[in-house]
Amino acid sequence: MAQEMTAAKKKDVIIEVRGLVNGFGSKIIHDNIDLDVYRGEVIGVVGGSGSGKSVLLRSIISLIRPKEGVIKVFGQQTGEVEGAQMRKLEMRWGVLFQAGALFSSQTVAENIKVPLREYTSMSEKLMDEIAAMKLNMVGLPPDTADKYPSELSGGMVKRAALARSLALDPELLFLDEPTAGLDPISANQFDELIKQLQKALGLTVFLVTHDIDTLRAVTDRIAVLVNKNLVIGTIAQLRKSDDPWIKDYFSGVRGRAALADMEEA
C-alpha cells in the first residue's frame, strides 16, 4: 500500500537532493546523499546526536551552503536562485525551529503578523483576524495573542511558533524536533496537531526528530542518517534492516514500547 502511494506521488517531487556533501573543516557529515520528498507526504529524519539531521534541514532551506551537490525545492535549485526569486521560494515553505525562535520583543500576534506585513498588502484588521485564526488553528486560546513569548510555557511557544510558520499558508513545512523538551502528553497532542493540520492544509512535512512516538504517529516514510548516508523506508521496512544503529534504534526499550501495538497488528 505504501509502495503504491509512493509510486503514485512520484510525479510530484517537492524536495530533490542529489549528491549532497556537507562537512565542517575536514570532518565530513553527509557523504553523497540522495533524497526525494513527494507532495503531500510526511517524511521523518532520524539519526544519532551529531549525525547531521539539523544540518540536512538547514542545507535544504539554504541556511547552510553545502560543499557539493544539488538541492532543488519546488524544482528550483536553492543555491542558484537569488534575491526576489529566493524570497518567492521562501514564501512557499515554513520553518519551525527547535526552540521556537519567536521574536521575544513582540507579542505572539505581532510575531504571526511579521511575514504577513512583509509579504502581503493586507489591512491591519485582516491581519489581526488571520493571526487569531492561526492561533485557533494550532489550539491556543485567543488571549495568547497579546502575550509575549516569555510569558508562555514550552508547549505554547512551540504552538505559537507553528502558527507563525503557517502564516503565509506554505505548501511545505520544516519541523526541527517539534516535540523535544515537551512532556509526553503535550508531545502527543502536538503530534495530533501536526497530523490534523497536514491533512487539512494538504501540507508536505519534513520532520526532524528523536521521538519514536512522533515518527510512528505522523510519518509516511522515514530517512535514517547512518554512516554519513541515508537509509529510507517505512517503519516496517526499516525494522528489518541489518544496520546495527537502526536495529538498536527500533528495537531498544523505547523503540519496542512505542511500536508494541504494531507487533500485534
Partner: protein, 382 residues
C-alpha cells in the same frame, strides 16, 4: 519589495452576488496571495436581507487565508440576522473549513492599553509607580551592597576574590587607558584653545594655564573619565550580569549557595573604586599635556613657562579635590551597572534596554553628584 501577491501565477479568485436568487458564487484560487484584494471587495458587500446560499463548488484552490474569508462572510451573514442555507465546497477542502470552524471563542480581547487621554494618563501613572518602585528597590540594593562591602572589608573572608578584583582593575582601568588618554588630551587642547582666544582680548593669555589647571584638575578630568567609564564599564557590567541571568547562570549560582553580591558585585565595585581614581589622575596629566601643546602652538608659551605658571595656579589640594570624587563616582557607576544587570528578564530585548538605562542613569547620577560636591566644597570654602 517582493509581495506574495506578485508571486502567484494562478487564476484570479472571484465572487458574484446574485441578489435575485440569494446566492453568492465564489470561484478561482482563494489563497493568501488574493486575500488582501478579496478582503477589500468583500467588505464592500451588502449581505443583509435574510437567507443566502454560498456556492463554492467552482473553487480551484483554497488555503487557510481564503477559507477564513469564506468563513468570515458566513459569520457576517449570520451576525446580521440572516441564515446561510447552503455552503458548498469541493470535498477536498471540507476538512480545512471544519478545522477552522472549531470553537472560535467569541469574547472580545481586552486591549492592553486604553486609548486616547485615558491611555496617556495610564502611562503617566504607570511610569510614576515604576519610578517609585525603582527608587525603593535601588535604595534597598544600596543597603545590601554597603553592608556586604563593610563586612568584606572589616572581616575579610577567604572569599574576598582578589583575582576577580584585579581582573576588573585590568578590564575597567588598564584597558581604558588609550581611550581616556586620547579624549582628555583632546579636551585639554580644546580648552586651551578656547581659553586663549577669549583671554587674548584682555592681554591675559598667560591665565589660560590657570584656567586649564583649575578646570581640568578640579572638574573636567574627573567628570570626563567618569562619563567614559560609565559608558564603557557600566554598560559591560549590566550586559554581562544580564546575559548570565538570561542563561540562568545566576539561578545556578544561587542554588549552589554562592552569594551573587559577593561573587559578582563586590569585585566589580572594588575594582572600579581602585581603577577610576588612577584613571582620573592619568586623564588630568594627559589633559595638561594637550593644553601645554596648544599653548606652545597658539600662544608661544614654552613648556618651562607653562610649568612655572601651573605651579602658581594650582597646588596639591586642587588635584585632591578632583580625585576625592572619583571613588564615589566609581561606586555609583558600578552599583547602577550591577543593579540593572540583575533586573534583566529572560528575553533578548531586555539586556539591551537595561544596558541603555544603566548608562543613562549612571551618567545622570555622576553629574548630579558632581554638582552636589561643588556645592559642598563651596560651603566648606575649599
Amino acid at each position: 519589495m517582493t509581495l506574495i501577491e506578485s508571486a502567484s501565477a494562478e487564476p484570479e479568485a472571484w465572487f458574484k452576488l446574485d441578489r435575485d436568487n440569494r446566492t453568492l458564487t465564489v470561484g478561482g484560487a482563494w489563497t493568501i496571495s488574493e486575500s488582501a484584494r478579496l478582503d477589500r471587495e468583500l467588505n464592500g458587500l451588502d449581505l443583509s436581507g435574510g437567507e443566502l446560499a454560498i456556492d463554492g463548488s467552482k473553487i480551484s484552490r483554497l488555503d487557510s487565508a481564503g477559507a477564513w474569508l469564506l468563513l468570515r462572510t458566513r459569520r457576517a451573514v449570520e451576525a446580521q440576522g440572516g441564515k446561510v442555507s447552503r455552503f458548498d465546497l469541493p470535498d477536498l477542502y471540507q476538512p480545512l473549513i471544519d478545522n477552522l470552524d472549531q470553537e472560535q471563542a467569541a469574547e472580545k480581547r481586552k486591549p492592553r492599553l486604553p486609548t486616547g487621554f485615558r491611555g496617556r494618563l495610564y502611562k503617566i501613572g504607570r511610569a510614576t509607580i515604576h519610578g517609585y518602585r525603582q527608587g525603593v528597590s535601588i535604595l534597598g540594593y544600596l543597603g545590601r551592597v554597603t553592608v556586604e562591602t563593610g563586612e568584606a572589608i572589616v572581616a575579610p573572608k577567604h572569599n574576598l576574590r582578589v583575582a576577580a578584583i584585579f581582573h576588573q582593575v585590568e578590564e575597567t582601568g588598564i584597558n581604558a587607558l588609550p581611550i581616556v588618554g586620547l579624549l582628555s588630551f583632546l579636551i585639554g587642547v580644546v580648552l586651551a584653545y578656547q581659553g586663549a582666544d577669549q583671554l587674548k582680548q584682555f592681554g591675559a593669555e598667560i591665565f589660560t594655564i590657570n584656567l586649564l589647571g583649575v578646570g581640568l584638575l578640579r572638574e573636567i578630568g574627573g567628570l570626563i573619565t567618569a562619563i567614559i567609564v560609565a559608558g564603557r564599564s557600566g554598560s559591560a557590567f549590566t550586559a554581562h550580569i544580564g546575559t548570565m541571568r538570561v542563561n540562568e547562570e545566576i539561578d545556578a549560582m544561587q542554588t549552589m549557595g554562592l552569594n551573587t553580591v559577593d561573587t559578582l558585585v563586590l569585585p566589580r565595585i572594588i575594582g572600579l573604586v581602585i581603577s577610576l581614581p588612577l584613571l582620573t589622575f592619568f586623564a588630568d596629566i594627559m589633559g595638561l599635556i594637550g593644553g601645554a601643546m596648544m599653548c606652545y602652538v597658539s600662544l608661544d608659551i614654552t613648556f618651562p613657562v607653562f610649568l612655572r605658571q601651573l605651579n602658581q595656579a594650582v597646588d596639591v589640594s586642587t588635584l585632591m579635590v578632583g580625585l576625592i570624587k572619583a571613588p564615589v563616582f566609581a561606586f555609583v557607576i558600578a552599583l547602577v551597572g550591577c543593579y540593572e544587570g540583575f533586573q534583566v528578564e529572560r528575553n533578548a530585548a531586555s539586556v539591551g534596554q537595561l544596558t541603555t538605562r544603566s548608562v543613562v542613569e549612571a551618567i545622570f547620577l555622576v553629574i548630579v553628584l558632581d554638582a552636589a560636591f561643588s556645592i559642598m566644597f563651596s560651603v566648606l570654602g575649599i
